[in-house]
C-alpha cells in the first residue's frame, strides 16, 4: 500500500473516533494518544478500525511500539507489505 494511501486510511479511522481531529494539527513524531486524548476504549476502537480496513492483526504485545503516528504508520507499512 502506498504511503499516502495508508496515511489517509489511518487518519480517516482516527476521525471516526475523534471527529474533531485536524490532520494538519497532528505531529507525526509526538505521542498520538496525548495529542488526540484517546482513552483505552478509544485506542481499542482505533485498532479495531485499522484491523477491519487493512486486515492486519495487532497483538496487544505490540501496543508499546505504537506511540506516535509515525510509529503506527511504519508498523502498518511493514504489516501490509
Amino acid at each position: 500500500m502506498k504511503e499516502e494511501e495508508l496515511r489517509a486510511t489511518v487518519i480517516a479511522t482516527l476521525k471516526t473516533i475523534a471527529p474533531e481531529v485536524e490532520e494538519g494539527d497532528l505531529h507525526t513524531d509526538k505521542p498520538l494518544r496525548n495529542q488526540v486524548d484517546l482513552d483505552s476504549m478509544d485506542w481499542l476502537n482505533f485498532l479495531i478500525g485499522l484491523h477491519e480496513k487493512l486486515k492486519v492483526d495487532i497483538p496487544e504485545t505490540d501496543y508499546a511500539k505504537l506511540v506516535t503516528l509515525g510509529d503506527v504508520l511504519a508498523y502498518l507499512q511493514a504489516k501490509t507489505k
Binding site: 485498532l47 495487532i58 496487544e60
Partner: protein
C-alpha cells in the same frame, strides 16, 4: 388506565423536551420498548415503557417541554377493556417552555422524506390532522424550493417571482410579500422566506451550557446534602494485568477486554457484601438496590460527562460486560441512550487513570450513596514480607454517604475489592 409519566433521567434533570413519539394510539407496547425520544440537557434519550399495554392517547406533542413526572401518554393495561375515547384533557402542567417547533408534528415517513429531499421541516406547513406534516407536504415544499421547479410564479411585470406556497402562506400570515427578502433563483420568494420573515430566529441549543448547568445543579446538591467521607487503598495489579494480557493474547483485537471491565466486575461483586453502598437515599431513608447497576462515568469529546448504567454487572461474564461497555460508550458519545440506563445506576464508577492522575476522590451522584474511583496503574516500590519489589498498583478510592454507612464498612469494601482483583480468573 395507566399513566405513562416522564421519568427522571438522572438527578440533574427536572424537565425534558419530547422530540418524537415512536408509537401511535392503538399500538400494543411491551415493557422495555422504546416509545418516545426525549431531549434532556445532556442527551436525546430513548424512553422505555415500564409496563405492557395498549396506547390510548398521546398527551404531549413533539416540541413541548414538560417537567419530570408529567403524564406523557395514557395506556390501557393488557386485558383492560379499551375505554371509549375521552376528549383530550391534559393532566399536565402547561409546558414549561414552548419551542418554535411545537406546532411541527411530522410523521416518521415525512421526516425521512424531508431528509432525502433536503427540505427543512421547520418551514413546512402541515396539512395533516392538527397541522401534522405529511409526505405530500414535504414533497410540495421540496418542489417549491427547487430551483428547477416549474411552480415558480411567472414574473408579473417588475414584480419578483413568488412561489404559490409562499404566496398562500404570506396571505395566511398577513405578510406583505414585497417586503420579504428572497432567496430563490432569479430573486424568487420561497415559502421559507415568508416563514423566516415572521419567525423569530431559531434559538441555537446550547447543549454544552445546559450540560454544565445540569452538572452544577446535581453536584451542588450532592455537596450540600451528602456528608461525604473518603477512603483510598493501594491495590496491587500484577495478577490482574498478567491475567488480562494472557487472556487478550489469545483473542482477536475485536474481542479483547479492557481493565475497566475487570474493575467494574470486581466492584459489583464486592458490593454484594456491602448493600449499604448500593442503592438510593430518598425521602430521608436509604433504599438498598437488589442488583448492582453500575453507572460508568463517560467523558464526552465535546465536554461534559454522563454516567449511564450497565445493568446487573455482578451477574454477567466479562466478555458480555465488554460488549455492553463498548456499546454504551459509543451510544453515550452519539447521544443515543436509553431511559433505564440514565435513571437507575445504583453506584457510579469513575476511572480517571487514563488522564494520568494517581487517584480520584469523587462527588457522589445523588440519589446514589457511594462512588468508586480508580486512578492510573503505576509501578510502585513495593515492600512485602521484608522484601522490596516493583509492583504495578492502582489507587482505588471510595466516596460514600455518611448518613448511610461508616468508614469502617467503607474500608472493608475496599479491602474486599482489593482481594477480588488478586484473583481475576474468578471474576
Amino acid at each position: 388506565m395507566i399513566e405513562f409519566k416522564l421519568p427522571s433521567l438522572g438527578a440533574d434533570m427536572d424537565q425534558g423536551t419530547l422530540l418524537e413519539w415512536k408509537v401511535s394510539p392503538g399500538d400494543t407496547v411491551k415493557k422495555g420498548q422504546v416509545v418516545a425520544v426525549v431531549d434532556t440537557s445532556k442527551a436525546a434519550v430513548d424512553v422505555e415503557i415500564w409496563v405492557d399495554g395498549v396506547v390510548r392517547e398521546l398527551l404531549v406533542h413533539p416540541g413541548e417541554t414538560v417537567p419530570t413526572g408529567a403524564v406523557l401518554a395514557t395506556l390501557d393495561g393488557i386485558g383492560e377493556a379499551p375505554s371509549t375515547p375521552e376528549p383530550a384533557t391534559r393532566k399536565t402542567a402547561p409546558p414549561a417552555a414552548k419551542g418554535v417547533t411545537a406546532a411541527h408534528r411530522i410523521s416518521p415517513a415525512a421526516r425521512k422524506h424531508a431528509e432525502e429531499r433536503g427540505v427543512d421541516i421547520e418551514h413546512i406547513t402541515g396539512s395533516g390532522p392538527d397541522g401534522g406534516v405529511t409526505v405530500e407536504d414535504v414533497e410540495r415544499a421540496a418542489k417549491a424550493a427547487s430551483p428547477t421547479s416549474t411552480a415558480l410564479a411567472t414574473a408579473d411585470g417588475p414584480r419578483r417571482p413568488v412561489t404559490p406556497a409562499a404566496r398562500k402562506r404570506a396571505c395566511e400570515l398577513n405578510v406583505d410579500i414585497e417586503t420579504v427578502a428572497a432567496s430563490g433563483p432569479g430573486g424568487a420568494v420561497l415559502l421559507e422566506d415568508v416563514e423566516r420573515a415572521v419567525a423569530p430566529p431559531a434559538p441555537v441549543k446550547d447543549r454544552l451550557g445546559e450540560m454544565r448547568r445540569a452538572i452544577a445543579a446535581a453536584m451542588s446538591r450532592s455537596k450540600r446534602e451528602i456528608p461525604h467521607y473518603y477512603l483510598a487503598e493501594m491495590v496491587p495489579m500484577k495478577a490482574a494485568l498478567d491475567w488480562l494480557a494472557a487472556v487478550n493474547a489469545g483473542k482477536p483485537v475485536t474481542e479483547r477486554l479492557l481493565m475497566a471491565v475487570v474493575q467494574l466486575k470486581a466492584v459489583a461483586l464486592a458490593l454484594k457484601k456491602f448493600p449499604e453502598m448500593n442503592g438510593f437515599f430518598r425521602d430521608n431513608a436509604f433504599q438498598p438496590a437488589a442488583a448492582a447497576h453500575l453507572g460508568v462515568a463517560i467523558s464526552l469529546r465535546q465536554g461534559g460527562l454522563i454516567a449511564p448504567a450497565i445493568h446487573d454487572v455482578g451477574d454477567k461474564p466479562l466478555e458480555q460486560l465488554m460488549r455492553e461497555l463498548t456499546d454504551l460508550v459509543r451510544r453515550a458519545r452519539a447521544g443515543s441512550l436509553r431511559s433505564s440506563e440514565m435513571s437507575d445506576p445504583t453506584l457510579t464508577v469513575t476511572n480517571l487513570g487514563e488522564q494520568g492522575v494517581a487517584a480520584v476522590y469523587g462527588v457522589i451522584y445523588p440519589p446514589q450513596v457511594a462512588l468508586v474511583g480508580f486512578g492510573r496503574i503505576v509501578e510502585q516500590a513495593w515492600a512485602d514480607k521484608g522484601a522490596l519489589s516493583v509492583m504495578p498498583a492502582v489507587t482505588a478510592s471510595l466516596a460514600a454517604d455518611h448518613r448511610v454507612s461508616d468508614g469502617h464498612r467503607g474500608a472493608l469494601l475496599l479491602a474486599e475489592l482489593r482481594e477480588l482483583l488478586q484473583q481475576p480468573e474468578k471474576l
